[in-house]
């Protein structure tokens, strides 16, 4: 019982730092959901992880900051993107026709610490 309460508290404490979002991409293959994550100036990177329960079409996200861009298919898992503080642009899309629901986790970080993190949905 003590162990159960401890795990419950651990869960609550982790949720304090969790940043999660998600959405549903429409049927069309050209559909894109578009977010902007703002990391405070003291951040040195952003963590990003996207997942879906759908296997087809394949879902990917792209993270762009300045002249850097990377592709994050759901198969890639969590990625640390070391591009400092500022705005990270995130696009979410798929490789074919069909609705896809998804969720993602994101945090701005400095070393092992979470830093101020905001998100805006652009599209």
């Amino acid at each position: 019982m003590k162990r159960f309460i401890f795990l419950m508290l651990m869960g609550l404490s982790l949720n304090v730092f969790a940043h999660d979002d998600g959405g549903i991409l429409g049927e069309n293959a050209d559909a894109v959901d578009y977010f902007m994550v703002s990391c405070s100036a003291d951040s040195d990177r952003m963590y990003f992880n996207i997942s879906t329960s759908t296997t087809k079409p394949l879902l990917s996200a792209q993270v762009v900051k300045g002249t850097f861009a990377t592709n994050i298919p759901t198969s890639r898992g969590g990625v640390e993107i070391s591009q400092g503080g500022g705005s990270y642009r995130i696009t979410v899309n798929k490789n074919g026709f069909g609705k896809v629901g998804y969720s993602f986790e994101y945090h701005c970080e400095n070393g092992g610490e979470h830093t101020e993190t905001d998100i805006t949905r652009l599209q």
């Binding site: 293959a29 559909a31 792209q62 861009a69 592709n71 994050i72």
Partner: protein, 278 residues
């Protein structure tokens, strides 16, 4: 049945050739199998761009053939008043010419056409006009037109190939400088030569879903697997293009792009800038 199929194929080939006549091609590109690999380009659209038209092609480009610059686009001007006519021909891209008619006071008609332009060129031409009504001693008399005020260069106009534009310019007596003796019109061809540096003969494959591209500008983003061309409508300025693979496959590809105005004619498409090649 076979004939119909052949005709359809020929029409398709002709249409493809026509489309590529005014789109710029990226030339052969390769995406590596590196995890997260993304090629990143910026395309600058200037002028009166309304949207960027973008088409992704999966597959190896067989060859990249250097083609000569787009054949000359030119326009001609005719100035008439009653039975008097002056013609000036061949005002080439980036040049200007003057046309004069000694017709006294009254209404002059300025007609512009594109006769002599290579008909395969579909890009509309842009130009501006400036005029002055002059006395016999070359002093400015009274002049007016809906086109623009006297001595002031008009706003940029467009003229599609094969079309004619007509304007009326009125010259009258001026209180100080007396009667009009002649009308001088300066024609400035502002068309930007479409610099299609390379055309890619491609063995384009049907999209497999292994290659995707995103076109982004401001708060607007679109995705494509290359099934069909996409239009991203966000005016002039820089459009970001990302090319990547959801399956982390190494793939050859190329893309065509064109900055178009609201009439779907080329605005000003500059060659892309490569920001990241992976």
């Amino acid at each position: 049945m076979k004939k119909i199929a052949q005709k359809t194929l020929l029409s398709f080939i002709a249409l493809s050739a026509m489309e590529s006549a005014f789109a710029l091609d990226s030339g052969a590109k390769n995406l590596t199998a590196t995890e997260g690999a993304t090629d990143y380009f910026k395309i600058n659209c200037a002028g009166d761009t309304d949207h960027l038209n973008f088409k992704l092609f999966e597959g190896a480009a067989n060859s990249v053939v250097e083609t000569p610059a787009t054949p000359s686009q030119l326009f001609n001007a005719t100035l008439t008043k009653l039975k008097l006519t002056t013609i000036v021909s061949v005002i080439e891209v980036g040049t200007n010419k003057e046309i004069t008619l000694k017709g006294g006071n009254g209404a002059y008609t300025l007609a512009l056409d594109t006769f002599g332009t290579n008909l395969s060129v579909k890009t509309a031409q842009t130009y501006s006009v400036q005029y002055q009504c002059l006395s016999a001693t070359k002093k400015i008399t009274a002049g007016s037109s809906t086109l623009t005020k006297q001595s002031i260069e008009s706003a940029k106009k467009t003229l599609a190939n094969g079309k004619t534009a007509k304007y009326i310019i009125n010259c009258a007596k001026d209180k100080t400088n007396g009667n009009t003796d002649s009308l001088v019109v300066k024609l400035i061809n502002k068309t930007t030569a479409v610099a299609k540096s390379a055309s890619t003969a491609s063995s384009a494959l049907a999209p497999s879903g292994d290659l995707t591209a995103q076109v982004i500008k401001g708060a607007i983003a679109k995705n494509t697997t290359g099934e069909e061309a996409i239009d991203v409508q966000n005016g002039s300025g820089k459009y970001d293009v990302l090319v990547n693979s959801p399956t982390n496959k190494a793939l050859p590809y190329h893309f065509e792009y064109s900055c178009l105005n609201t009439k779907n004619v080329d605005a000003q498409t500059a060659p892309f800038q490569l920001l990241q090649d992976q």
